[in-house]
Symmetry: C2
């Protein structure tokens, strides 16, 4: 249900206001063009040190955009006027690792010991790739980018360990270097690819069967290119089965005040 | 007392072995050329989350190179064969914010709840500047780089807050852009300058009186250029007066296995 009052050129403030009021309830792709969108992970304070350290040790899958003070839902660096409890269109709430609800706000779930993490999102470099004339098939097809669990381990930190998750985009052979160079500029949005070419090098046996998202055809003259994926930190954090754990719902990201250029 | 057995071209392993055995007890500037040196901060686990978050929120003064697991003195990412308890030539031990000793190892001080942080050091970009033909007066004069407390506040995190500390290097007017561009490449060694020009913009009233280090003359045709300084995190951490807090002794840094080029 897209609101007719939210123009495509609306800025982050207007977008978040429309989400907060319930006018905008769907995915955020393409909203507030030019501004960084972010993945959300909310954990209790007792797990926050290990999770923060996990992100620091694994900056490619887990680039940190902002971390709130304990008990505060306000991301002071990324959007000081926002409230992470109701400024995303849809959330996922997990109890002991089980998905229990997908509400449009989490005011009823917030606790004084919560810490919210905003992590970089591939929307940022995808936008830059398309602007630079590198077409992305999953965007053209309107399908979800395909993702796989790889055979590469993340660097563990305390309670958190697990494999790197990657997303794949087919890139025309003569554009692979260009796509790599452009995405490398966005260190806080997964940066350069982790691999280009043979999926088996990452332990991926079948490009037709992703672990998440939709299969995306790799055509003649194209190379499958793999980037570290923002699903990694969520998948890893969920393994610890905390009593309460909250994320955004896939595609329903947080729109920050941070211009994409500033994220370089 | 420099050991005759430690050649100038010795690699990080040989340098650390000479330090560990007590053969090398002086400053580390110029040792293991091409490899990153790091500031050391050791804090108890109960302060580690706030300190890690402080570093994440203030990446220019506090660029993170590595963080050990709780109770482990081994920096797995930066030098997996090293032991931070005796691989630096000299340490400073503080109790409740007071300097109580400057030993050559801290084996007697280590505890199971300790976390060690390695933070980027200006040696890295200074090396790159000199290589690129940008002379640095304090190196030529063999004096300490001058440092000041500024009027800019760091972003606070929990128990930690305080002002940004900067170092100053006079740069010839026509080389300021070049110096800025080169240091900007080393985001994990303080990155680009925070200011070039009028010291008053940072609240610095007298370039002849630094808060630490030695005064350095700014000559006609030169601009004072200010970089975020690795003293910031130590000064800020000490404000919290933890029961036990350990750092390297100034200039007596940790030599990592990380090639300078890899720190970009």
């Amino acid at each position: 249900m897209q609101s007719p009052t939210l123009s495509l050129g609306a800025g982050p403030d207007a977008v978040r206001a429309a989400i907060r009021s319930g006018e905008w309830t769907t995915q955020t792709s393409g909203l507030a063009p030019g501004y960084t969108q972010a993945n959300l992970v909310i954990l209790p304070r007792e797990l926050a040190y290990d999770f923060l350290l996990f992100c620091v040790r694994n900056p490619k899958p887990c680039p940190i955009i902002d971390v709130t003070d304990v008990g505060s839902p306000v991301p002071q660096q990324a959007a000081p006027g926002a409230d992470l409890r109701n400024d995303l269109p849809r959330y996922r709430v997990y109890e002991y690792g089980e998905l229990v609800e997908e509400p449009t706000d989490i005011l009823h779930r917030w606790r004084d010991d919560m810490v919210a993490f905003l992590l970089g999102c591939s929307f940022t470099f995808e936008h830059a790739l398309v602007e630079a004339g590198v077409p992305l098939r999953h965007l053209e097809c309107g399908t979800g980018v395909p993702m796989w669990i790889t055979n590469r381990a993340c660097v563990p930190a305390g309670a958190f360990s697990g494999p790197l998750v990657v997303s794949m985009r087919p890139i025309r052979e003569d554009q692979v270097d260009r796509a790599s160079d452009i995405s490398a500029r966005y260190a806080r949005a997964h940066g350069a690819p982790v691999h280009a070419g043979d999926p088996a090098a990452l332990g991926i046996t079948d490009l037709a069967i992703p672990d998440w998202g939709d299969p995306t055809e790799v055509r003649d003259g194209e190379i499958p290119v793999f980037w570290a994926c923002g699903v990694t930190p969520q998948a890893v954090a969920l393994q610890s089965k905390p009593p309460l754990f909250i994320t955004h719902s896939p595609g329903h990201m947080f729109v920050t005040d941070v211009p994409i250029g500033q994220l370089v």
